[in-house]
Symmetry: C2
Subunit: 164 residues, 2 copies
Amino acid sequence: MKAAVLRWAEPKDMKAVLGLIQELADFEKEPEAVVISEDDLLEHAFGGQPKFQCFVAEKQGQVVGMALFYPRYSTWKGPTFHLEDLIVTQKERGTGLGKALYTKFIAYAEAQGVRRIEWVVLDWNTHAVNFYENSGADVLEDWRTVQMDQAAMRRYLAKENENI
Amino acid sequence: MKAAVLRWAEPKDMKAVLGLIQELADFEKEPEAVVISEDDLLEHAFGGQPKFQCFVAEKQGQVVGMALFYPRYSTWKGPTFHLEDLIVTQKERGTGLGKALYTKFIAYAEAQGVRRIEWVVLDWNTHAVNFYENSGADVLEDWRTVQMDQAAMRRYLAKENENI
């Protein structure tokens, strides 16, 4: 942990943030899935209406980890935060940086008064599952994420319009 | 579908919206889970910084269904929408209202240019799972939702502080 600083991400960090995002996509076996650009991240984080917030871990001038999150809303509990990505670059894993970023995010969320934090984990990533459960989080077994991409949305709408 | 109108929710609808939220919690076998109030919904939907948007289905002057959603962010794809609740009251199920609300949400999301929409479904709710898959959505089998509530966040932070 020596010489690691945790701080809010700045515009100059978005290149490194994109690098970490790509590294995670590679790990999750979806290397082609990242279509976002550095300019997108700059606009979405620092444009008029920020779409996410991000802490980074910096070590010897390099961004080596990040915790990226945004507000969500539970109709049961009220305002929540969603932790979209918690990433530490491969060569810095096992040094406690991931836990430090996780703790910083939780401390910030608690201070903001959100009633819940949430995120998703791959069920085969047992290291992560165990880490989260040991920290007191609940891994929900019976909920499934459902997604529809832009192309599928358009196919669905075209079909519905035919049926009218 | 006769006499059903789909429109944006207004402040006067929040009492009925809360009723639908409670009805869904009962169906999902968590009747005690709803801690939010009508005043919370009013503040969160129509206060300075809206935390969600909502379409309602109105029939003979009664709100009988809703589609409630908010923006999210994918570090792979960019801006997305999350459909938090798609609810039709018990006695109006099977009338096509759920599909009409779903279509209205998808059409709005597509028009806004989001690159993905997503939501969650209970894996034992096979009726819903089939409906979503038939519409062209993907039900992801290997992702799990993780949640930590406010009490667990405080326990975690207290323990971490002891360790420092």
